[in-house]
Symmetry: D2
């Protein structure tokens, strides 16, 4: 299973910790962490996933990958700029959105379009988007959704 963590380049300490814990939970479950590969929430999720021995993939906007964070096992440069956001969504079986700016909003919208299961933590209020307050709740929500799907 691929689970994407989406969120902004910048993040508060609180949200950074939240993303890090989310990454840890994803890795412990044996899921591959997909993200946009950059700093902030993306870095935090990758850091957490690597702490738990997980596999991390960054789908990067640039041609050269200089924006890549230090916790990526796989760095995929695209040269597409923000158009790579759609690829993060399409590569994911489920998505956890943490805080975030307009890039994150575009990914939330795409998740509803495709559609892909998604849950948010302190992110954009979007009609139909389930929001929770902790990494654990987000993880449990996604786990339950993916379990139901398999049946």
């Amino acid at each position: 299973m691929n689970v994407a963590v989406i969120g902004g380049h910048a993040s508060s300490k609180k949200m950074y910790s939240m993303a890090q814990e989310t990454g840890r939970l994803i890795a412990r479950e044996g899921w591959v962490l997909i993200c946009g590969g950059g700093p902030g929430i993306m870095e935090a999720a990758c850091r957490g996933a690597k702490e738990a021995g997980g596999l991390t993939v960054g789908i990067l906007p640039s041609f050269d990958g200089k924006e890549a964070n230090d916790f990526l096992d796989v760095r995929l440069t695209t040269g597409l700029g923000y158009a790579r956001n759609i690829l993060v969504v399409r590569a994911a079986d489920a998505i956890i959105a943490i805080a975030g700016e307009y890039g994150t909003l575009s990914e939330i919208a795409f998740a509803f379009n495709d559609p892909k299961p998604i849950v948010g933590i302190h992110t954009w209020k979007v009609r139909g988007l389930k929001q929770v307050n902790s990494a654990k709740e987000a993880f449990s929500y996604i786990k339950a959704v993916l379990k139901r799907r398999k049946k």
Copy 2:
């Protein structure tokens, strides 16, 4: 100048009229109308633009273009599905969002990312998005923004 009208496949009669008038105003100004090429708001905007002798372009999700509305001068099939939304935004100098569902939300988000000038009519409430109540107001807003840019 390219001005995109974005909005849903389905639309109320009121929003259809609004989009049609928006298309007319765009065409009268000599702007090219860009849209996703489908039914609903997209069709209405194209219909209005053609009434005013304008040029209409649809950037379509499918390979075969069967979803194309009847008022397109240029039908561009992409085979990208909803990923074509980013192309609508990138091809536009400015964007008018009318009502709409998640696809429209993804385009609004991309407009802030790129960034491109955008105004909404009864569409998603998104932080930073100027909303107005009529085609005329939307048109005037975009016209003023594009004028300022040129200087």
Copy 3:
């Protein structure tokens, strides 16, 4: 019908004339000319199409369209760089390749992949690619193929 003319940024005088005549023939038939929007072969085809009162569309690699030639009715910026080549192929009902470099080769290959009818004039020798020596022959070949398809 959309017919794409593909070819390089640079071109000999002879190939420029060939592309210009191809553009004229496309426009006279009432087909929309699709191209990559740039200089060289693309410019020549657009110039020819405009001489014959046709409609021209350029799908441009950049965000700002500064590479656009002067004979485009519709300028679609993509910000995708050479990845826009696939969009030229996908938007076309048929393709005429004239001379060209590696970008043109990628489009020829994509035409066989999709697949789309294609003919070449003094372009890359590719297995299965029909090559002719004049704009008129290329035009006639494409016209016959499109006619057969409709039936």
Copy 4:
């Protein structure tokens, strides 16, 4: 480093072995193997890489990944069809082309466009493309090129 192996869905036994050995060499060097994720040459390269304990990434054309081979650590569905070919090239630091059909040709062309170092084994004859006769030679060529680049 990411090294892509590109080639067709179908392959002869000889070419399958060649791709498998190429995958092994890539993995032993500690490089990540990037490919289109499907059967044939792609499967062979992934199989080889996994035999040598490497990391394998497939950038898949479909939405659901049903064409994925059994030797992928990371399965990235794109829903872009053959347009995903450009992503394989963009994600790679260097490319090894083995046999292959038109899809492979499009990737070779893109490699020259971007440009990315590339070498071929019994693949399309393309102006400027270095061709060799064995996995070992291809690997050595790419290794030398990447070494020179770093300096």
